[in-house]
Symmetry: C2
Subunit: 473 residues, 2 copies
């Protein structure tokens, strides 16, 4: 009766990881490819994951003092060219609007690939004196970067993200704020909500954001041992302030350039979630993120339907995020497989036999397995079950990274480890920018630099700095 034992619905991870990923996205109805190359349609269940990410992130962003705003999608092409490195970095990826309202435009406009330029145009108007600083702005928006090798959620021509933009009176204040976002917003969310044991580090000069003086990154290890850049927080120095003349009157009555940061995470995190926690049966959604933490399923029969509705209400009243599945006209096995695919942490299954016994079957997606429980005890039992499963996902993520990371001392060993599907730690003094360039020819990159004690180094050449080297998405 249970369909679990049948032929796998997904290509097994071990057989073909990229195909497993694509299968999962299709079968769990997370997203479809859009009609224009590289775009995607995010289906309700996939969008629900992003919506919950937004909610959790938005609270943390506001706690860090930033306010939401909205800047236009269209940026005059001339803005992009004002910061030399910035335009060099983004020019190859731009989508350009040449016609509007039936006419050719006098100046073509680009669809924002990121908003530093247009934001600075306005910051330069809004910032007058030191009293206006720090200015802390965030926006939730879509951006477009033309993609040659698109992959749903991971690299798409259009994606959804938040981008923070701030201006500060001093270098130190900007540096501290970029670090605060990196740690208190991004790392806190990724570790404690997504359950992904990200590494916090610093990008090398080669991997830095176009226009930044420093880029902080969070790197996650995926199920196949590759790395995914999950988010970045940049110190922009005064580069954009110079290009847009963003100055303030200091306490001493002098005109000074502002120091800036920008930072973003995107729908790419949905891809990271899938590749971190997914298994051959589908997705596994961390309970703290899940929009549906518990599905209460009627196996068959009117009495079971009545019971699951009643139980659903009771569990909702206890503060749990619950969906009732009373579609008894659809075979139970098919529905169970679907909830497994979608990765809902807990299923409560109730059939005619359970009704007599006052029990239900508790199926746990994250550790796997099922056991009968007393229906009466569920409301009390479930919060602990969910927290246990949340912790398990993080532990598994940590154990994977520990077991698949090796300390090496030579470039050859680093490349070998990366190509075998793992991460290598190598002293940055051994590798350096030349070694980095050599690794790049084998599609291996320095994901980030970390200090010996695991903290984020203050500069690229701090003694004892270690490079983390891997293949990446």
């Amino acid at each position: 009766m249970r369909a679990m034992a049948k032929a796998p619905v997904l290509t097994p991870q071990a057989e073909d990881f990229p195909r497993w990923y694509q299968d999962l996205i299709n079968k769990a109805e997370l997203a479809d490819n859009g009609p224009v190359r590289g775009t995607m349609v995010i289906r309700p269940y996939g969008y629900g994951l992003w919506e919950r990410m937004q909610q959790e992130m938005d609270v943390r962003i506001k706690d860090a003092g930033a306010q939401n705003a909205y800047f236009p999608l269209f940026i005059p092409q001339s803005y992009l060219t004002r910061e030399a490195q910035h335009v060099e970095g983004f020019a190859p990826e731009l989508a350009v609007v040449t016609h509007g309202g039936g006419k050719e435009l006098e100046e073509p406009v680009v669809v924002r690939p990121t908003s530093e330029t247009i934001v600075n145009e306005y910051f330069s108007k809004w910032v007058q004196s030191y009293r206006d600083l720090p200015l802390l702005i965030n926006q939730w928006a879509n951006v477009v970067r033309w993609e040659m090798r698109p992959r749903v959620f991971l690299r798409t021509s259009e994606f959804l993200w938040q981008e923070g933009h701030t201006a500060h009176a001093t270098y130190e204040d900007a540096r501290d704020y970029a670090a605060r976002i990196h740690r208190d917003v991004y790392a806190d969310f990724m570790i404690n909500v997504l359950g992904i044991d990200v590494v916090l580090g610093r990008k090398t000069a080669k991997e830095r954001f176009a226009g930044a003086i420093n880029t902080l990154t969070l790197e996650g290890m995926m199920g196949d041992g590759k790395a995914l850049q999950m988010g970045t927080s940049h110190e922009l120095g005064t580069n954009f302030a110079k290009a847009f003349n963003t100055q303030y009157l200091s306490r001493d009555g002098k005109q000074e350039l502002v120091w800036q940061t920008s930072w973003g995470v995107s729908t790419r995190m949905v891809g990271g979630l899938i590749m971190s926690h997914g298994d051959d049966n589908g997705l596994r959604v961390p309970p703290r993120l899940a929009a549906v933490q518990i599905v209460v399923m009627a196996i068959k029969g009117d009495e079971a339907v009545t019971k699951v509705r009643e139980l659903g209400d009771r569990l909702k009243a206890a503060g749990l995020r619950v969906q009732v599945d009373d579609r008894v006209d659809t075979p139970f096995g098919r529905r169970a497989v679907d909830w497994e695919l979608k990765g809902v942490p807990v299923r409560i299954e109730i059939g005619p036999r359970d009704l007599e016994a006052g029990t239900a079957m508790l199926a746990r997606r994250i550790p796997g397995g099922k056991e009968p429980v007393s229906v009466e005890q569920l409301a009390e039992l479930l919060p602990a079950v969910l927290e246990e499963d949340q912790a398990l996902l993080l532990r598994q993520s940590r154990e994977r990274r520990a077991s698949r990371t090796s300390d090496v001392t030579s470039l050859a060993e680093a490349a070998e480890a990366a190509n075998a599907g793992g991460w290598a730690r190598i002293p940055w003094s051994e590798l350096g920018p030349e070694g980095e360039a050599e690794l790049a020819q084998q599609a291996v990159s320095v994901r980030c630099l970390v200090a010996e004690d695991g903290s984020v180094p203050d500069s690229d050449d701090a003694p004892g700095t270690v490079a983390i080297v891997a293949r990446s998405y």
Copy 2:
């Protein structure tokens, strides 16, 4: 000391309503014009209004059973042309991307002006049988319609909105759902949260959405007596289903076209809010909408600062949305004027004298006026004050509409009433499509058709149908 009696900060409404609107948007820091013609930058306080609108709407949309999703910004130009009326309506307003990733595109893509076409492309894949219906989808997104005569929030080349798209098995089910959104989502939100006494009606054939068989609308009367279309809900019939071949297998085993609806409200509502409730001192935000319902202001002195922080915490704990203004270095008068401009419903002002007496000054933005109150009683007093003010805004909106609407029987009288800054009600049988065309030459339009009893008529030619005629934004 109080700046209220000084020269007005805004152009008075009676002097020049459009200039008052623009002054308010600038001085209350709601938005700026964007660099590309017709675009806008929504500043944090303005975005906060939209964010609260989103929250309130999103709950109602989900209660109506729709799920959020996301469709791509870019639509192949060929999609638009599949529904003849639709392309005719939107072609003049399109922004077209011709280059991407440094190359000219094989097929130009348009930036979505609305998403019926791309949504139907996917609905036709997702809908197989009657079991998949109704399919109820909503998205929060930006859209672009090139504007020749832009005005911030009201008519912008890019705006933010939600657009709902649904597919149903029968005409009746689609019709009922469009009406449900119109009534339970839009009207409920606009009347009970925005405090705007909108009229619910039906658009004439001339004013219908391009591709719809029926458009339901909500029309609000602004402070100058003009009308603003605040939102619309469309019955699309099978027009898009035919164009995209969106069919389902019925219970009888036949392939049938789906019946569809689409519905949207946008950042235009922010403009409607301003023009409905604003006065010569600035905005007045309805308490149920306000992100900041109460500002607790220290007039001067360290003791007052301590007191307002403490009081702010106490009021927040009582479930009120509170901001503390302890910027005693900035003149009190300037801050008070600013909060008036921003329309925060209630100010609690505390100075040295109040501390001794255990009192505070309670200033109410909506009815105007201030009076001393006991600090101890505030937490108990304020919820009732806020609800009273919420009700007052709706009453004022209702009274304005009643006093500035006249029943007329001839086209000449209707035009005269509209041009004098009011609405006219005229039997549709008197006016008809020819009269409507004649009025259009004087920039007067039929805002909607209503039944004699105020309900929404089932067709254009139901006996007793009344046309509401006005100038509009």
